[in-house]
């Protein structure tokens, strides 16, 4: 039981606007949930119960949407869990600075330069595509005050 109380304690900290409550049984796989105070994507959901006539508990496994770490939690199916608000926005990539920051342009023309090249293969691909002169569209994921680029595609909209 200590686990559940801990979660409530920590998520309570993350601010009312960043999350909203949802009944545990209504969560979906591939959806989002706060686990140990971190916004996570649910990769596994299973139910179990104590004894044959007990009530179901939901066992959740999630992956932190920003750093890829794995978290687990267990919760009675009738209880509420916090769900992070998650926003994804597309930006045009206009430049990459020497120290690895991206210059991104929103649909309304606003520029921002506060996001770094993502780690891993995606970052490598992004840089090589940009260097070869492709018009790129970056998808930025935002949740609980954090942001990062999670997907890139060639901007076909410009061709038309």
């Amino acid at each position: 039981m200590a686990d559940i109380e801990d979660t409530h304690f920590e998520t309570g900290d993350s601010g009312a606007s960043a999350t909203f409550p949802m009944q545990c049984s209504a969560l979906r796989k591939n959806g989002f949930v706060m686990l140990k105070g971190r916004p996570c994507k649910i990769v596994e959901m299973s139910t179990s119960k104590t004894g044959k006539h007990g009530h179901a508990k939901v066992h959740l496994v999630g992956i932190d949407i920003f750093n890829g770490k794995k978290y687990e939690d267990i919760c009675p199916s009738t209880h509420n869990m916090d769900v992070p608000h998650v926003k994804r926005e597309d930006y045009q990539l206009t430049d990459i600075s020497d120290d690895g920051y991206l210059t991104l342009m929103a649909d309304n023309g606003d520029l921002r330069e506060d996001l770094k090249i993502p780690d891993g293969d995606l970052g490598t691909q992004l840089r090589s595509d940009f260097d070869s002169g492709k018009e790129l569209l970056c998808t930025v994921l935002k949740s609980c005050g954090e942001e990062c680029v999670i997907a890139v595609k060639a901007n076909t909209a410009l061709d038309k």
Binding site: F20, M22, Q23, S25, A26, R28, N30, G31, F32, K41, V43, S46, T47, S48, K49, T50, G51, K52, H53, G54, H55, A56, I63, I65, G68, V83, P84, H85, V86, K87, R88, E89, D90, P118, G120, D121, L122, Q125, T139, V149, I150, A151, V152, K153, A154, T156, A157
Partner: protein, 1042 residues
């Protein structure tokens, strides 16, 4: 000769067997290559003899035996009769002379067996007979080690002749295998059986205990007899495919029935024979190793059928004999746990293979034993459930219940009067085993383990057993009805008492073990009651009130008025109340207590498992008893017919409002609810129908509101996904009654919004997936039965959806790796479903082509490596091919299809490669009309070389080989010079590396095309398939060194 060669091999073997740190990997590789070369040695017979005589290295001996076998198969046609028989004699004398280790012995025995089998093609079994006579002599008069060896050789020969369809690796085609099997059956099998049984009789009569060497010999003899009795005597009139199915049974756990030909009559009908087999079993039963084959023999003998007992008096006589010996044995022994499976199998087979009348005429002890043993197994299996993973008791119980199920359903077998008391005994035992003390004997469930809910549903898990228990109970309805009613009444009173005490705060809410015991009792009583009252049919069957229940109700002839008043709870007086209704009344009362508990806030106390069981029971009761259709019954009890729906459907309609007002059910359940509304709407009329249909209207309003919402937040997206899922429920629930245009119009409002939703929420797979799924489901459910103008409307939506999807997904690279598997995968599967359904509805080639153009670049080789996606993708290609959609694609897209097929052919999965081959056949047939210099044909033909190489190198799964043959044929039909060209190419390649095999390869290709015209007509196609089998048998014989 070559002592140095042997020394080289032994040194290499030492390298291979040395521990890792002692040798370098280079040395190991070198040693490996020594053996690789050794395995392809030509004419190695003298060398192998030398090795067998001189070498002391196990590994070298093993390799030599393997080489001997492979070389014999490879070079059979080049060997003289003398070479072969001297080799065979040498091997047998070697084995008799030396104490060879088991691995070597088995390999050499198999080699002798292969020699015998291949030799009997030419000599009609002469050598085989001589050898068997020789072996019989050895068994009768040699030291026991020689006797055992002779038995092993007989077994090896039987093994070699037993299987035909799968015996590919000795270089014979199937027809020859089968002919040899039949000749062996006719000439030698019975002789082997009689001889072995004779030897066993001597052993039994000798009175010696089966111990040590003697036990090992007895086991071998028993195994020979077992193999004869389990032999699949297949009729030569069946097709190869059917014979393959028979042989699959032969290889599985349950042997086929003992179907013997007329020539066995003198042997099998001897009365002493059956007695002897029971005597043998009693002699060996204390030794588990021996008891298993001897019990299998008894089981097989219980299934005697076929022409040998075609006359019914013979059958009757045989059964009498069998049952007498069986009952004699049962009177004498106390069966142990491991014998239960065999004994239950004996009952099952006797009841299956002999007519109900014959079974009913057996001595009373037969049925009494069955009853006692069943009850014994019931008790055993309940204990077993809680203790370990063993399933002996449960498996035995299943077999016994199988027998019961036949007994209680046969009308021309035992009379109801005879069955009544045994049925009561079985029913009572089962009930007791499930109830807690003092009523029953259920072991206390002390463990409070965390149980995974993914474990199978309790109600499904036990349904097979309970269905039979229900059928048994209906043979004694008065007794069982009374017992169940008394129990339910008692438990419902206890439940009432407990819940009231809790509600008043006089009992702690935790409830404790008491309550759990009560829940568990109720759970079981309700499950048994459900299966007693109704048959839990699978979907699609007409559900009926069981006829025994109707008869029982008619016989009781209770007062209708009193019964109905009791049922609705107006009175508690059970005087003159129909027993079945009393039972139902009690179920409804327990249900009412459950509702009361939930309303009183005791939901956390009540068992969800019990709630599920109550719902299940109400469901199966409602299926059979609510509104019984008089037309399907020959007679009906007026009381049961009176139970029309007691309440109006107002309560059901109230659910509509509850749902529209935003009930907080999980999405999955809301989807089911809408499915139920849609089903009900199909059947309802007038106002009710309109109210039901309005559920879809309000769903649509909700969708519009969500779409028009300015704020784009997580809760909105969740609601949107839920609402789309509800529409899927509507689609699922729409039943195909007449034309579907009305239902379609109801959905079009939602479908219409799909492209816009995908456009706006393209970054949120949680919304995109249900939107695509809704499109896919609707296409599948209704596209084929709506008016053309509606089809066009739907296709427009599909086209726009494809475009929007492509705009956001082509060339996308994502950082979350699991997306590649999870989301992309599910999206793509949904898109494929849409395309397939559109193609199947016909006449929408343009939409298919657009869809494919988007889809094909997305289906990359890494995605095709996922088995689920690959299976779906290639099934789609095959389906599209049969719907003539692929050859209409632009050539660039067609090339992508060919590339995908190339990937699929090399996949390891049999399903995928078969699908690819089938698709190639279909494409070839279409492309052929275009001429072989057409770009489509040229693209397709590039697959031929790959396919041929895969076949020759056996890199294609064996079960796909027939499909691959068909693909080669149809590709050659496109361009008749193709096969010749490929053959020449292959032969030229061999001419460089392996010139000696060139003539055989040329000959094999000659066989392949012999007498075949590549005109695509059936006769030639079939001839090619025959040639193809021969081609493979010969090519694999000499090209492959395993």
């Amino acid at each position: 000769m070559d002592n140095s060669a042997i020394q080289t091999l032994e040194a290499a073997a030492q390298m291979l067997m040395a521990p890792p740190q002692m040798v370098t990997s280079e040395q190991r590789h070198q040693a490996e290559s020594v053996f690789l070369e050794f395995r392809s040695t030509k004419n190695p017979y003298q060398l192998c003899r030398e090795i067998l005589e001189k070498s002391t290295s196990d590994y070298v001996l093993f390799e030599a035996a393997g080489l001997l076998k492979a070389a014999l198969i490879r070079e059979w046609t080049l060997l003289t009769e003398n070479d072969v028989s001297s080799l065979r004699e040498y091997l047998l004398s070697y084995l008799l002379r030396k104490e060879a280790p088991p691995f070597l012995r088995e390999k050499l025995l198999q080699t002798i067996a292969i020699i015998i089998k291949r030799g009997s093609i030419d000599d009609g079994g002469r050598e085989r007979k001589n050898l068997i006579i020789e072996l019989e002599k050895i068994i009768l008069s040699s030291p026991i080690s020689h006797q055992k060896l002779a038995c092993s050789l007989i077994l090896a020969i039987m093994q070699e002749f037993a299987i035909t369809v799968k015996s590919a690796d000795v270089g014979l085609i199937w027809e020859v295998h089968f002919r040899l099997k039949k000749s062996f059956e006719a000439l030698d099998l019975k002789r082997i059986f009689r001889f072995t049984v004779g030897v066993l009789e001597q052993i039994v009569r000798s009175g010696l205990r089966p111990e040590g060497e003697q036990a090992l010999l007895t086991k071998q003899l028993l195994t020979i007899v077992e193999t004869v009795l389990c032999w699949s005597h297949v009729s030569p009139l069946l097709s190869k495919r059917l014979i393959g199915a028979f042989e699959a049974i032969y290889e599985s756990d349950t042997a086929p029935a003992l179907r013997l030909s007329l020539s066995w009559r003198d042997t099998i009908m001897q009365p002493e024979l059956l007695a002897l087999f029971f005597e043998i079993h009693m002699y060996v039963r204390s030794n588990p190793d021996l008891a298993s084959p001897s019990l299998t023999c008894l089981v097989q003998l219980a299934s005697l059928s076929g022409v040998v007992v075609s006359a019914s008096n013979l059958k009757q006589q045989y059964l009498e004999n069998y049952v007498n010996s069986f009952l004699n044995m049962m009177a004498y022994i106390q069966p142990v746990e491991r014998e239960m499976l065999g004994i239950s199998d004996i009952y099952r087979r006797l009841i299956q293979f002999f007519s109900p009348a014959m079974i009913a005429a057996t001595p009373p002890a037969f049925l009494q034993n069955l009853t006692t043993l069943t009850c014994h197994c019931i008790r055993g299996s309940v204990i077993e459930e809680g203790v370990n993973d063993d399933t002996v008791w449960r498996e035995s119980l299943n077999k016994f219940l199988h027998s019961w199920s036949s007994l209680v359903h046969e009308s021309d077998g035992y009379s109801n009067e005879t069955l009544m008391n045994p049925c009561i005994e079985v029913f009572n035992t089962y009930l007791q085993s499930r109830l807690a003390p003092p009523d029953g004997t259920r072991p206390a469930d002390t463990e409070e383990d965390i149980k995974d809910e993914l474990e199978e549903d309790e109600r499904k898990l036990h349904s097979n057993v309970l269905m039979t228990i229900g059928a048994i109970a209906r043979k004694a309805p008065a007794h069982c009805c009374h017992v169940l009613f008394t129990l339910l009444q008692d438990r419902s009173k206890r439940l009432e008492g407990q819940l009231q005490l809790m509600h008043m705060g006089k009992l702690p809410i935790s409830g404790g073990g008491h309550l759990v015991t009560l829940f568990e009792d109720l759970h079981w009583i309700l499950m048994i009651t459900g299966h007693f009252l109704a048959v839990d049919c699978t979907e699609g069957e007409t559900v009926m009130i069981p006829s025994e229940i109707i008869h029982f109700s008619l016989r009781e002839n209770a007062n209708i008025d009193a019964s109905l008043r009791y049922l609705v709870g107006e009175t508690t007086d059970t005087e003159n109340v129909d027993s079945v209704l009393k039972l139902i009344g009690e179920i409804i009362r327990i249900n009412a207590w459950e509702c009361a508990a939930l309303e009183a806030g005791l939901g956390s106390v009540f068992s969800p498992e019990l709630s599920a069981t109550i719902s299940w029971l109400l469901k199966i009761w409602a299926n059979s008893y609510l509104m019984p259709q008089s037309s399907v019954y020959s007679e009906m009890s007026p009381i049961l017919a009176m139970q029309n729906p007691l309440a109006t459907c107002e309560e059901f309609l109230a659910l509509l409002q509850w749902e529209a007002a935003g009930c907080n059910l999980p999405g999955e359940l809301r989807k089911e609810l809408h499915r139920a509304f849609a089903i009900a709407a199909t059947y309802a009329e007038g106002d009710v129908r309109n109210r039901l249909l309005s559920s879809t209207v309000s769903l649509q309003e909700k969708l519009m509101n969500l779409i028009n919402m300015e704020s784009d937040t997580e809760p909105v997206r969740n609601m949107l996904a839920d609402t789309l899922d509800c529409f899927i429920g509507v689609t699922d629930g729409v039943l195909e009654v007449g034309t579907m245009d009305e239902q379609f119009m109801m959905l079009i409002g939602a479908l219409d919004k799909i492209p816009g939703i995908i456009f706006r929420y393209h970054n949120y797979p949680g919304v995109v997936l249900p939107a695509l799924n809704l499109l896919a489901k609707s296409a599948k459910r209704m596209l084929h039965s709506v008016q053309p103008q509606n089809v066009n409307k739907f296709l427009e939506i599909c086209n726009t959806t494809f475009e929007v999807y492509m705009r956001w997904n082509s060339g996308k690279i994502s950082s979350i790796p699991q997306d590649a598997e999870e989301e992309a995968y599910e999206d793509i599967c949904a898109l494929m479903e849409v395309i397939c359904s559109v193609a199947r509805s016909g006449g929408a080639g343009d939409t298919c082509a657009r869809g494919l153009r988007i889809l094909l670049p997305l289906v990359t080789p890494p995605l095709l490596a996922l088995p689920g996606l690959a299976a779906a993708a290639y099934r789609m290609l095959r389906d599209l091919d049969s719907a003539d959609q692929l050859t209409n694609l632009p050539i660039d897209d067609f090339n992508m299809v060919v590339t995908a097929l190339r990937v699929g052919l090399t996949a390891v999965s049999c399903d995928v490669s078969t699908l690819c081959c089938d698709t190639i056949v279909g494409l070839s047939n279409k492309v052929r009309t275009l001429g072989d210099d057409n770009p489509y044909a040229m693209s397709l033909l590039t697959l031929a070389e790959l396919l041929l190489m895969l076949i020759i190198k056996v890199e294609i799964p064996p079960d796909s080989i027939p499909a691959a043959g068909a693909a080669i044929y149809s590709l050659t039909c496109v361009k008749p010079a193709l096969l010749e060209g490929l053959a020449r190419q292959l032969i030229e390649a061999y001419a460089v590396n392996d010139p000696t095999n060139v003539p055989r390869l040329e000959e094999a290709f000659g066989v392949l095309t012999n007498g075949v015209l590549f005109d695509g007509l059936r006769t030639h196609k079939l001839r090619f398939q025959d040639n193809f089998d021969k081609f493979l048998a010969s090519v694999h014989g000499f090209l492959i060194v395993k």
